[in-house]
């Protein structure tokens, strides 16, 4: 059974522990600007929304990559960037309709969520369970998935 990140914005307090955990896991340093998960603040509404790659079935980034630098992880189903193969052309960053592949100018490569190989650090760090790693057919995810599908109808 594949698992997926379930994001529940209604539980988020905007503390950014997830961003630190993510950057620490992936970059070895506490650096929210390099986090694969981002929390967005809705100031006027007084809301927070954590957001990252849904590992969508369409895999827009993967298909847009000209050099096969994005591959499907056979264990977790995540779409992983192979840093040594990525040339930094950024086509995936415009192809991903969810805006969850970002260019890292420091390395000249792109970064995206890879579920930390099956133990997502953001989920462990979240103090309010706004980010959980659950079975992929969990009901809360259906809405996100349905949304992903509805966003860009598959051709």
């Amino acid at each position: 059974m594949l698992k997926a990140l379930q994001l529940e914005p209604e539980k988020c307090t905007g503390c950014l522990q997830c961003e630190m955990a993510c950057s620490y896991e992936n970059e070895g340093i506490f650096n929210p600007s390099k986090s694969r998960i981002k929390v967005f603040t809705f100031h006027e509404e007084g809301r927070f929304a954590p957001y990252t790659c849904t590992q969508c079935a369409e895999a827009w980034c993967l298909h847009a990559c000209p050099v096969e630098a994005i591959v499907i992880n056979p264990v977790t189903g995540s779409k992983d960037v192979l840093e040594d193969v990525c040339v930094g052309c950024k086509v995936c960053t415009i192809a991903c309709p969810f805006g969850t592949v970002n260019y890292n100018a420091d390395t000249g490569k792109v970064i995206k969520c890879d579920l930390c190989g099956g133990e997502p650090a953001c989920a462990s760090a979240c103090p309010t369970q706004a980010i959980t790693y659950v079975d992929a057919d969990h009901t809360g995810l259906d809405r996100m998935r349905a949304h992903a599908a509805q966003t860009i109808p598959r051709n």
């Binding site: 509404e45 929304a49 000209p66 050099v67 096969e68 193969v85 052309c89 960053t93 969850t100």
Partner: protein
């Protein structure tokens, strides 16, 4: 069932792989005329600056990728297509029979008709072979002239400048990347390049090239003459449709296809740079020589070739991303604006930051950005999903940088869960 694909670029390869997945038992043949394994032109600039080895440009990395998938890759040139007998005739002799044929022959660079344009030592940066030649000659201190500052010119520009060459760029139109960027953005890119020491001449044409000893003497329409050790031509590309001459397969700029990527011959399909596919934003059919469109075309064509019903092309969003010496720019859809639409624009010349959003009603239809690297894909998402922005449109008119908030706030799953919708 024999599926034959002509052209081993991204469209051809993605189509072959998709077919293999959809119809495991069918024969899939991929015919490409270049020496190397299928490679990506997008990656050539990175090869030029030696960021990657030649193998780094290959579309698929494992050497047995195609044999493992039982895709028959032929390094050969197609001489002609025999529609009646449903055969592809190879230059080396022999024929490959097809039930379904995909034309994914891509495009090729075109040279302007200028005296001296055919001199040896003038290269397009189109093939790996070109790239090898350019890399060998673009050395620190070498005087390099780049003709054309369109998308492809600008991709190469970075590599040439990074090589340490003394680079001059000549662009016929009044701004850089004219088919991707508006005046403001194109002007900023020019200013940026000049700041980095690149000489940029817009609204300028090369009128003649002469060989002068080991170097070139290049005359411009402005009357001045410049000297160059190397000339790289990137003045435009044209779909490779020659193969279809006399076959009765209809072409315009590119090969005409319907929403199933099918030509007027129901057994022949086209995809990628050579196909005149549907544009998402305009609903018209045009050539979009970009990687994501090639991949979309290819998947669709493959599904239709495999007989899947309902695989209909809704159109590809025209979009591009460019890195000009560290200044990252992108444009999407109707970046030039829609009729009766509204514009939200934010400019900071000092920081080379620019954001321009185009709306029709409360839907985002186009966008241009400079200096934006985070969540930029959401611009595509909003355009292609035709998301109704509601109150967020007004907010974006006020501050277009809130694009990610607008996306999350106006899309059902997150917006609802965040109690914003």
């Amino acid at each position: 069932m024999n599926h034959v694909i002509i052209g081993a670029g991204p469209a051809g390869v993605v189509a072959a792989e998709t077919l293999r997945k959809l119809v495991p038992e069918a024969n899939v043949t991929l015919v490409g005329d270049e020496q190397e394994p299928p490679y990506s032109r997008m990656a050539l600039p990175y090869y030029l600056v030696q960021q990657i080895a030649e193998s780094g440009t290959y579309l698929r990395k494992s050497s047995d990728h195609f044999s493992r998938l039982n895709i028959d890759v032929r390094q050969d040139k197609v001489a002609s297509i025999n529609r009646k007998q449903q055969q592809v005739m190879l230059s080396s002799g022999g024929a490959v029979p097809y039930d379904k044929l995909l034309i994914a022959t891509g495009s090729r660079p075109v040279s302007p008709r200028i005296p001296g344009m055919d001199l040896p030592g003038i290269y397009a940066c189109w093939t790996l072979e070109d790239a090898r030649n350019i890399a060998a000659r673009s050395k620190p201190g070498a005087k390099v002239l780049l003709m054309g500052a369109g998308f492809i010119g600008c991709i190469i520009l970075e590599a040439l400048a990074k090589s340490g060459a003394d680079l001059t760029v000549v662009e016929m139109e009044d701004r850089m990347v004219p088919r991707m960027m508006n005046d403001t953005a194109g002007g900023l890119i020019k200013a940026w390049c000049e700041e980095q020491g690149v000489h940029v001449h817009t609204s300028t044409k090369v009128t003649a090239i002469e060989k002068n000893g080991g170097s070139f003497s290049v005359t411009l329409n402005t009357g001045s003459t410049i000297t160059a050790d190397l000339i790289v031509s990137a003045t435009g590309v044209h779909p490779n449709v020659d193969l279809l001459a006399g076959t009765g397969v209809e072409t315009d700029d590119g090969i005409l296809v319907n929403r199933n990527m099918q030509t007027n011959d129901p057994n022949i399909f086209a995809a990628g740079d050579v196909a005149q596919g549907r544009d998402f934003s305009t609903g018209e059919y045009s050539v979009q020589a970009i990687q994501p469109t090639a991949a979309e075309h290819a998947q669709l064509a493959a599904r239709n070739m495999a007989g899947i019903v309902g695989a209909v092309h809704r159109g590809s969003v025209n979009m591009n991303v460019l890195d000009t010496l560290g200044l990252i720019s992108s444009s999407f859809g109707l970046w030039m604006g829609a009729k009766d639409g509204q514009t939200s624009e934010l400019l900071n010349r000092d920081r080379y930051r620019y954001l321009n959003l185009q709306f029709a009603d409360d839907v985002l239809v186009g966008a241009t950005s400079l200096g934006l690297t985070q969540h930029v894909g959401v611009l595509r998402g909003l355009i292609q999903s035709k998301t109704r922005l509601g109150v967020w449109k007004e907010r974006l008119l006020e501050d277009p940088t809130r694009i990610m908030e607008a996306y999350l706030g106006s899309t059902q799953a997150l917006g609802f869960n965040a109690r914003i919708l």
